[in-house]
């Protein structure tokens, strides 16, 4: 084993160990406390967990890439909502309504296109103005949310299409449609980030932006592409989720950015950029969902869930630091 690979293993493998720990805890302690008569570890329950992790998970894959690239996107919740509004509203446009169920793929396309467009706006602003992505997306988080409201006043936008619902609720090989989407996106993003030139350049840019510039990597377009990807994925998440639920409140998706970032950070991706991987992010996403569900299973109240998730986030950060610290010899700055 090469020096450093142990800590690398801990960093990448730790989240899965944590997931197993959670499963064991809720499987044993949870079942003792719980009033429910089905065990927490029932296969159906685990499959549901995956399905329910999908909306956050799909966005988290995009956020991983954005954070590897050295940026952050706070506007994903609003993009999610706006794409959902477009998805559901477009199906009731006269020409679309006339198309019957053929309107569905078109509506999906519209929603995904809007997501990609919103991402592109963020990306372009970050690229062309040089304003930090945190600020740009903090702004568009407000702005896009405003657009959601302006689209349909303060009313929910609804379109319940049972064909769509049936598709979204379907199970194939035991896995739900959203789970398949989550896995497909994970696989795709894994491929993109580890195998393609774009992906490797994204790491290089996040790791040392100046070096990347000096080496002739065009930083701007890469960032733009990544913002388009996360916008697209936020919209895909909306497509997957709202195909099933059929109605979006203008406030939906609020705080999603925080959940997504939490999942990505639990998965070990550094905010500073340059490191992280989507497989660990998947672990982070599942860890949160299991935690939430397990606490619910035990009958914990909302406040307890908040408290626990907040403290776990801090604890993970602390442990990560302890694992990576160079020991007593380190420079004390």
């Amino acid at each position: 084993m090469k020096p450093g690979s142990l800590s690398t293993f801990l960093r990448t493998g730790a989240i899965w160990a944590f997931v197993l720990l959670e499963l064991a805890f809720f499987g044993i302690v949870g079942d003792m406390v719980s009033t429910s008569n089905t065990p927490f570890l029932a296969p159906d329950n685990l499959l549901l967990t995956l399905k329910q992790a999908a909306p956050i998970g799909i966005i988290a894959m995009g956020m991983t890439l954005i954070m590897i690239n050295g940026n952050i996107d706070l506007s994903v919740g609003a993009t999610f909502a706006l794409a959902a509004v477009v998805l559901l509203d477009s199906m009731s446009w006269p020409f679309m309504a006339a198309m019957g169920d053929w309107a569905i793929p078109l509506a999906w396309f519209f929603a995904l296109a809007v997501g990609a467009l919103l991402g592109a706006i963020n990306g372009l602003i970050v690229w062309k103005t040089g304003v930090d992505a945190f600020i740009v997306t903090l702004g568009s988080m407000l702005g896009y949310r405003g657009l959601v409201f302006m689209y349909n006043g303060e009313q929910p936008t609804s379109n319940l299409n049972w064909t769509l619902v049936d598709f979204a609720e379907a199970q194939f090989l035991g896995l739900h449609t959203p789970t398949w989407f989550l896995l497909a996106v994970t696989l795709f993003m894994w491929f993109l980030s580890t195998k393609t030139v774009h992906g490797r350049n994204a790491y290089a840019i996040g790791n040392n932006r100046e070096a990347a510039v000096n080496a002739g990597i065009r930083v701007g377009p890469h960032m733009l592409i990544n913002f388009v990807i996360i916008g697209f994925l936020a919209a895909l998440s909306a497509v997957v989720f709202y195909s099933e639920s059929g109605s979006v409140n203008p406030n939906d998706g609020q705080l999603y950015e925080l959940w997504v970032i939490t999942a990505v950070v639990l998965g070990g991706t550094k905010l500073a950029g340059g490191s992280g991987n989507v497989i660990s992010t998947l672990g982070g996403v599942i860890a949160i969902q299991v935690l939430r569900k397990g606490l619910g299973h035990m009958g914990a109240a909302t406040e307890t869930v908040n408290l626990v998730i907040g403290l776990i986030l801090i604890a993970v950060l602390f442990l990560d630091r302890q694992l990576n610290v160079k020991g007593r010899e380190a420079l004390k700055t």
């Binding site: 159906d44 549901l48 639920s245 059929g246 409140n249 909302t302």
Partner: protein, 296 residues
């Protein structure tokens, strides 16, 4: 008797006292009844989480399910799943959209349209008493946008007002999000914008008191008739103090007990009305003696 497991997923406990008191009352009622075990979940205001909780309850094969929807339409497919699994569903407090009616057994809760109508009547009666029913101008502070209760109350109020007081004008409506501080800000802006405000209708008393605070700070509270809904303790106190005119008396304890009872009735094979409203009477400074002070 048979032992039933009933699951409930609530909207957003902790966001205000009504929902918290509801939850406590619900748990208390369930504990008092040896025949039921309850699984109590809270969606925290998030539709996705609520849908997940409905799925969980289905997966846990509860005998009946009570849902306080975060969005009256978005939960319909999830409710259909419960229906397909033969789990009876009771909607509580705030109804789902009509498309979902086929999949639920009953709605148990207040009649929010009627509440809005009654609030319009309270307001109109008061104006008539004061002799300003022909020129009064009012503003409305509505609840959380997109939330069925907020929509229905506003709808009832806006429909009824012109019927009883055709000359009263509703000059503007802004949402206060069921939030006292937000409502206070909205009212501050109204006070600047309009020199003449005779009445404020708020989607609940929590927001109503926020508006009252704003008017007090501007020394204009005395000129304004405040009417709300869901009489919170703060609203009751403000009525006692003579600052707040009227509201709708709605008890979360009644609400919770009615929901549980409806579910039990269904499980016991009894007939329950599809729209199972519990009564929410008018309360004003004139008749408040008939009501006990709300505990929330």
């Amino acid at each position: 008797a048979q032992q039933y497991t009933i699951g409930i997923t609530q909207n957003n406990v902790g966001v205000d006292s009504y929902q918290t008191t509801y939850e406590q009352a619900f748990i208390a009622a369930a504990e008092a009844n040896d025949d039921v075990q309850v699984v109590v979940l809270d969606a925290g205001g998030d539709v996705a989480r609520q849908i997940a909780q409905i799925e969980d309850l289905i997966q846990q094969q509860v005998d009946a399910m009570i849902i306080w929807p975060t969005n009256g339409e978005a939960v319909i497919p999830a409710v259909r799943k419960a229906f397909q699994e033969d789990i009876p569903v009771v909607i509580t407090n705030s109804n789902i959209a009509e498309q979902g009616f086929d999949f639920i057994r009953s709605f148990s809760g207040p009649d929010n349209i009627t509440q809005g109508q009654r609030a319009a009547e309270i307001m109109c009666d008061r104006f008539t008493e004061m002799g300003i029913e022909d020129e009064a101008q009012i503003v409305q502070i509505s609840g959380q946008p997109g939330y069925t209760t907020a929509i229905e109350r506003a709808q009832g109020f806006e429909e009824r007002l012109p019927e009883v007081c055709p000359n009263v004008t509703l000059v503007e409506t802004q949402p206060g999000d069921w939030n006292r501080e937000k409502s206070q800000q909205v009212m501050e802006a109204f006070l600047v914008k309009y020199d003449d405000i005779d009445g404020v209708y708020s989607g609940d008393d929590n927001m109503g008191v926020g508006a009252l605070n704003a008017a007090r700070a501007a020394d204009r509270a005395g000129d304004i008739v405040f009417v709300g809904a869901t009489n919170f303790a703060v609203g009751y106190e403000a009525m006692e103090a003579g600052d707040y005119w009227g509201s709708i008396y709605q008890s979360p304890v009644d609400d919770a007990e009615a929901a549980l009872q409806t579910a039990l009735d269904i499980l016991n094979g009894e007939d329950v009305p599809f729209l199972n409203y519990f009564d929410t009477p008018k309360i004003t400074q004139d008749n408040m003696g008939e009501f006990t002070k709300p505990v929330f």
